[in-house]
Each structure stands twice: as structure tokens, then as C-alpha cells.
Point group: C2
Chain length 273, copies 2
């Protein structure tokens, strides 16, 4: 049982709350039994599982599965676990997992972006981890083939993003921190229309060809689509707004756009894509 | 210039972060120039405006408008303002404003719920203030006539909800903490179908009559629709989901549902409701 916050394994894990440490180590944190279970089901590689004695008792099978996948099991006090989890209601278990996101260099690898995708979501400069994770969850729910983020966008393996994604990080390929010109070329090569969300666009989502295979591109919460991204897009579209709100929350807008696209694609193909 | 955290006006304002103090005083906090400006435009009554000297210099006209509306202006240090605002990036200005939400007793009053609404959003047990505020913003964006919360739901005048609503609290009538049977009766009396969101419903949103005037009812993030609410609904509907996500984030699901309803109502009426 680890009881000291100065234990090297605890110190190393706690550092993974910071992007630099994640980038350097190629590891990130997954909280809770549900998260670890999704990670294992997706073939992700857990390296260490920290659990309180209570959680270890409750999740014996899960810990055995993690051990079989190569994870080291470390018992910790509830206080240390709460420090690691950074949530107000930690669930007694935090795992250090090998990074699951891919670089643009790996986009063609097995498990990367499919050769003929129907719908891809792109975050171009999104900065809030909660928003990014929520968009990933919506992309998963509406059947996106992949999600990509451009260089300078928030890290989807940050604890807040992982939490907001609620397991979806393990459900679809995520290409992270991509150089935009290379990403745009890869998406176009796969026959995707590049459609950007812009509240000031002339066309509404009903007026752009969402029924065709497309990449839906979302910009920064405050500044919208970066100019170099905007210049490469085939269409800009806005959501129809009937009331007085200045704009939708980014994650809400993304969910609506993904829904509208998935629905149109299935209406056109009679439920099959 | 107030410099002490023990100043009675500062102490009273800081207490408004808590629901009990808001309920007792009938006041809540609005952060930032944009928020205060929206409050004034909507005819809300500011009682006190706390501003740093820098913000006061930058927003002279706004402070004059607030004073004309009866607000007392108090200059505070940046440190005190940061304490009041509870955000990492306070904008130099926090206003104490008289509550703008209505009780179920005021639902028929002028400015309450219109006699023949097309779309109303109901939060039945939603507990996260960020979610509730984001739903209010989406309800505003998609032209809902009003939003209502049931007793036991989160307070839309809590600082986090006000921030997430981004001004929408001042754009449409909000009926708060309503007794469900009375609210349901008032909605039915206005000819609204009661349609609940439930990820386990048999019907999708395309299969329920969203084109008719309706109240869209959302339940708790973890527990869904409360049983007494569920029992009174005309229809349950789920969003079509094509991927592997267990469910959408509540605010994302609400945004999609509001969009789908607003769109169907306008398609049916040729853009006019």
C-alpha cells in the first residue's frame, strides 16, 4: 500500500495532468472502472492501475484483466487516489494508459482513418478540454469514422477531455495535433468534402451537401475557424437560429451538426451508408 | 474604493454564490460587461455593480446605464473582484441583479409563458449548472418560447449556470422550481404535447410529432426522467445513435432535440410558426 505522495510512481502519474508530461511519456490518465474497462475492451495498454483497497475489492475481475494486459497494480490510500483523480468524486481507481491518439503520420496505418469514410469531425483550434471531449462523445454517438484535431488544439488525453468523452476516446480513431495542410490533403484524398461550421455563413446546414461524405470542421470557441483552415474548405454552414442567443456553445453546435449530417446521409441511403 | 473582504456589501454579494442566499434575497450575480449589458437590455434590475477602476474606465456608458436603472456603483480592488467572480478570468465587473426567474404562480403573468407557445423546454431534475445553462442557451438559439425547471432541479441563477447561459437567461421566460403536476397542467392547457427525451425510448425523434406545439422534457444526467414526470408524458423519444457512445452529454442531446423540433415546426409551416 502506497501511503506517501512522494512515492515515485504517484509523482510520475500526477505529472500526467500536464500536457508536457503526457507528450514526453506517451501516457495519460483514465479515471474510474468504466473508463479502464472501455480502455481494455479497445485494446489500449494500461501500464499502472492505482486503486484504493475498497475499489480493488469491488473490481477484482477488472484488475485481473488489467494485469493480464500487462498493468502493474498499486494499492493507494483514498487521499492519494483523490489527488491523482482531480475530481470531487473519484471512483477509487485511476489507470496510467499508453496514449491511444495517432499522429498524422499514422493516419494510413491499420486502425487509422478508413479508406472511404462517410463522416469525420475536425477540431481546428478548439481550446476547452470539456468541449473537445463532449464533441468526441457526440462524434461517437452519431457514428463518425474518426475525429482529428489540428496542431494547437486542446489535447484529448487531458483529464478533463477524457472525462467529458466518457469512453469515446476508445471507440473511434483520433488523429491528434495534425498539421492542417497535411490533414486537409488526407481528407480530400479520401473523397471528403470539407465543411466548416461558421455562425456567420450564408448557407444553413440544410443548404450544404451533408449527404455526401464529408469532414465537419469546428473552429475555436472565441475566434472561430483559423484563416488557413477556412481558405481550404469547400463549404461554410451555419445552424439555423431562431432566437436571440448570440451563438450556441461549441459542443452543442457540433452535436447538432453531427446529427444533421448522420441523419441526412442515412435518409439518402435508406438507413445504410 | 472597497479594499476589505469584510466590507458588508462584498460579504453579501459573495454569499450569492450559494442557492440559499439567492433564494432568501431574490438576487443573483451576473459577471462581465456583456452579461450586465444583456441584463439591462432585458429590463432586469441591477442593484449593485462592483467594478475595478480599470473596468469602470472601460465601461463608462454601461455603468451610467446601470446607475440610471437604479444600481449603486462600488469600486473594488482586482483581488476582491476576482473573489466575487469566482472565475479564473474575471472581466473586472460583477453585478448583483434582482432575480429574473418566475415561479409557477407567475406563469400566466405578463412576460410569463405565452398563451399559445410552439416549443417549451423543461428540465426535470437536471443537476449540473453548466448543463442547465448550456440548454438554456440552446433553447434561446432555437427559438423556444420558454424554459421551465421542476422543483429539485439546479438553479439557473447559480454563477456557473449564468455563465454557461451566456445572456440567454435574459432572452426568454424562465419558470423555475415548478411543482411538476401544476407545470404539466399549465403546459397541457396551452395545447402542448409533452415529449420526453429517453435514450431507451422505442421511437426516435423522427417518429414523434415534433411538428406540433410541444414541451421537450429532459431528465437528470444520471437517472433520466423521474417516474412521476414520465407517467404524464404523451411521447418518449430518443436520438438516433449510430456509434458506440453510451449516450450523449445531456446538453448536447437537448441541443439536438431543440434543433430537430424547431426545424420540423418550420418545415411544416414553411418557415413561419
Amino acid at each position: 500500500m502506497i501511503t506517501s505522495a512522494r512515492n515515485p510512481a504517484v509523482i510520475a502519474a500526477r505529472k500526467l495532468a500536464r500536457g508536457q508530461a503526457r507528450a514526453r511519456s506517451g501516457r495519460f490518465l483514465v479515471e474510474g472502472a468504466q473508463g479502464l474497462s472501455e480502455a481494455l475492451a479497445a485494446g489500449a495498454r494500461p501500464l499502472t492501475v492505482f486503486a484504493t483497497p475498497e475499489a480493488a475489492g469491488e473490481h477484482r475481475e477488472l484488475l485481473a484483466a488489467a494485469a493480464a494486459a500487462g498493468a502493474e497494480h498499486r494499492m493507494v490510500t483514498a487521499q492519494l487516489l483523490a489527488d491523482l483523480a482531480q475530481t470531487l468524486t473519484p471512483q477509487g481507481l485511476v489507470a496510467v494508459v499508453a496514449s491511444v491518439v495517432r499522429t498524422i503520420d499514422q493516419i494510413d496505418d491499420p486502425g487509422g482513418l478508413a479508406p472511404a469514410p462517410s463522416m469525420v469531425c475536425v477540431l481546428a483550434g478548439v481550446s476547452d478540454p470539456g468541449n473537445a471531449g463532449t464533441v468526441l462523445r457526440a462524434a461517437d454517438a452519431f457514428g463518425a469514422d474518426a475525429l482529428a484535431t489540428t496542431a494547437g488544439s486542446v489535447d484529448l488525453e487531458s483529464p478533463k477531455a477524457v472525462r467529458a468523452a466518457a469512453g469515446s476516446l476508445f471507440h473511434l480513431p483520433v488523429i491528434a495535433g495534425a498539421d492542417w495542410p497535411r490533414l486537409a490533403a488526407a481528407l480530400r484524398d479520401r473523397g471528403l468534402l470539407l465543411i466548416g461550421a461558421d455562425p456567420h455563413a450564408e448557407a444553413t446546414v440544410d443548404e450544404v451537401p451533408l449527404e455526401r461524405p464529408c469532414a465537419l470542421v469546428l473552429g475555436n470557441e472565441a475566434h472561430g475557424l483559423p484563416d488557413p483552415v477556412r481558405a481550404d474548405l469547400h463549404h461554410l454552414a451555419r445552424l439555423p437560429q431562431y432566437g436571440r442567443a448570440e451563438s450556441l456553445n461549441l459542443a452543442a453546435a457540433a452535436a447538432v451538426l453531427l446529427y444533421a449530417c448522420a441523419r441526412r446521409q442515412r435518409l439518402v441511403t435508406g438507413g445504410q451508408r
